[in-house]
Symmetry: C2
Subunit: 332 residues, 2 copies
Amino acid sequence: MNASRPFKTPTLADVARVAGVSPITASRALANPGLVSAKTIARVREAVEATGYIPNMLAGGLKSTRSMTVACLVPAISVAQFLPTVQSLTDALAAAGYQLVLGQTGYDHAREDALIDTMVARRPDGIVVAGLVHSAAARQKLHRLGIPLVETWDLTEQPVDMLVGFSHQQVGAAVAGFFTRKGWKRVGIATGDDHRASLRRQGFTGAWGREVPVAVGPAPSNMALGRQALSRLIEQEPRLQAVYCSSDQLAQGVVTEALSRGLRVPQDLAVCGFGDAAFASQMEPSLTTVQVDGAAIGERAAALIIGRCKGEDVGESVTDVGFRIVERASTG
Amino acid sequence: MNASRPFKTPTLADVARVAGVSPITASRALANPGLVSAKTIARVREAVEATGYIPNMLAGGLKSTRSMTVACLVPAISVAQFLPTVQSLTDALAAAGYQLVLGQTGYDHAREDALIDTMVARRPDGIVVAGLVHSAAARQKLHRLGIPLVETWDLTEQPVDMLVGFSHQQVGAAVAGFFTRKGWKRVGIATGDDHRASLRRQGFTGAWGREVPVAVGPAPSNMALGRQALSRLIEQEPRLQAVYCSSDQLAQGVVTEALSRGLRVPQDLAVCGFGDAAFASQMEPSLTTVQVDGAAIGERAAALIIGRCKGEDVGESVTDVGFRIVERASTG
DNA sequence: CTGTTAGCGCATTCAC
DNA sequence: GTGAATGCGCTAACAG
């Protein structure tokens, strides 16, 4: 029985009345205690307790034009790759008093546009995008708005504002170089069809120097798609020696399918993933993969936005967090 | 160069001026087109384009006392179990114009309390919690506030408000019954130390009738903890026949550790997980597990909150979404 | 250190 | 169908 619903929730004015001070003093006692005497602070605190006051940040934000929220756009929350970034971003922002507002674009540019509009309507103090902002219209709108914006998990010459990421082409090229040094000749690619995975694939084939068999599945990729991908690659190249996968989930599927076909990993087939998921080091055989510090991306993005909100000049910052290949048993 | 930053973002008053109507007419043209003539609507729409107007929902919400946001509290976003729920919740809410504000409690009751306070300060139109609200103080506060609240992924006689979940004791008991019917005598449990996993463990041992070896690891559990858990269980009971795991990640670790010790699954050791993650059906052997429809939980939670916001009387609804054991190869 | 004044941008209420 | 007045709850800017 929510019997107390009809009672208006107390406002700062109520607190001020009970404490015997003006509303602005009550406001300062709570938000800016340095400007108020200790005695007054105590009285206001008591009044808060007595009235059961809960601040209304919406009203505060209207006047101060600071909503203390940051919007975060991801293709889908279930994309494991971004989870450490979202987690560290949420925590770092929360520590500074900001809340994360989450939106899912579903890998859909039109939906991304619409989502940005609804997000901006909430006047976030910053926006973090997993990936780059795709549509030209949205890029222009965001640029004009001047809301601190961090694009992540990618690299471009022309970020809308700030960027924390790395080059996917370089990742692909690095894996191709690694495969070359291993002396493998007949290699294939299992990949999702999203933008960043495609960049890695381009980087790989570019460095490899000639076309290789490719099995493409819909993003977000998973283990089942990995199993299918290996089947298709083997159809194209029965004597396949190594596969580069656009995610560890895909790689896990490839390894499982290989083992269940009686292929030994890595002796008969080597496998390399991307992401260094928690399970990669625990698989049997353990998975060689490309490690990216997703948590660091989230922390850096949070720091950039918080800095901007404080008025610090962080410039048109572009941070390349890099990556590294973690060699494990699946590549011998 | 965010050169346009100094220019104030246009308000509804600017739109009205350009359109040659009063602010309230402009407001109605956008929010309530039925009350305005088609001609006026067209003029206002043009003015919106011309000015680059973006509505300010903070200001609107202040007057209408509807923020069009819903707060969502999870222990950690990286807990895979809740991902389908968060995803479907976000989508269902977005379809109705609501945005999700995300908070992480970190399995910490004090932090949960603080988080609820900051969330409530943003005046969400609803709150969805992964799990139950733990602290008595928070329960009471939320009850008094009267904000539509949905607790999920659990069951209790005394929900704060609404609830969409299932009984973890029943899950544990069902798995114990399944193990009994299989005729296994020497069984063990690998479990995380969080509240819901503990309930499942209690349900299991209660139905089993006597204590069994247990390996407890810190939540959130993962594959590495699963491998360790099996090692510890085998120390306690070298002739172990079956293991019940509190998550599929844990189960995957147990299976991997078993195989790498030369044990055959399921002939030498049977394994059952919880959650029916995407990889469960794709593992080799495929994993028997407990399936819960996490997406349905999110959809139902969204529907309940949206219904309440519309003033529909959904009552003190408690929905038991149930669960089912999916038998696969890992239990023979 | 504290108070007064004046809005932030919009939607509710009542008029016409 | 449209408009004027008013205030949601809070804080910036200026006084004292």
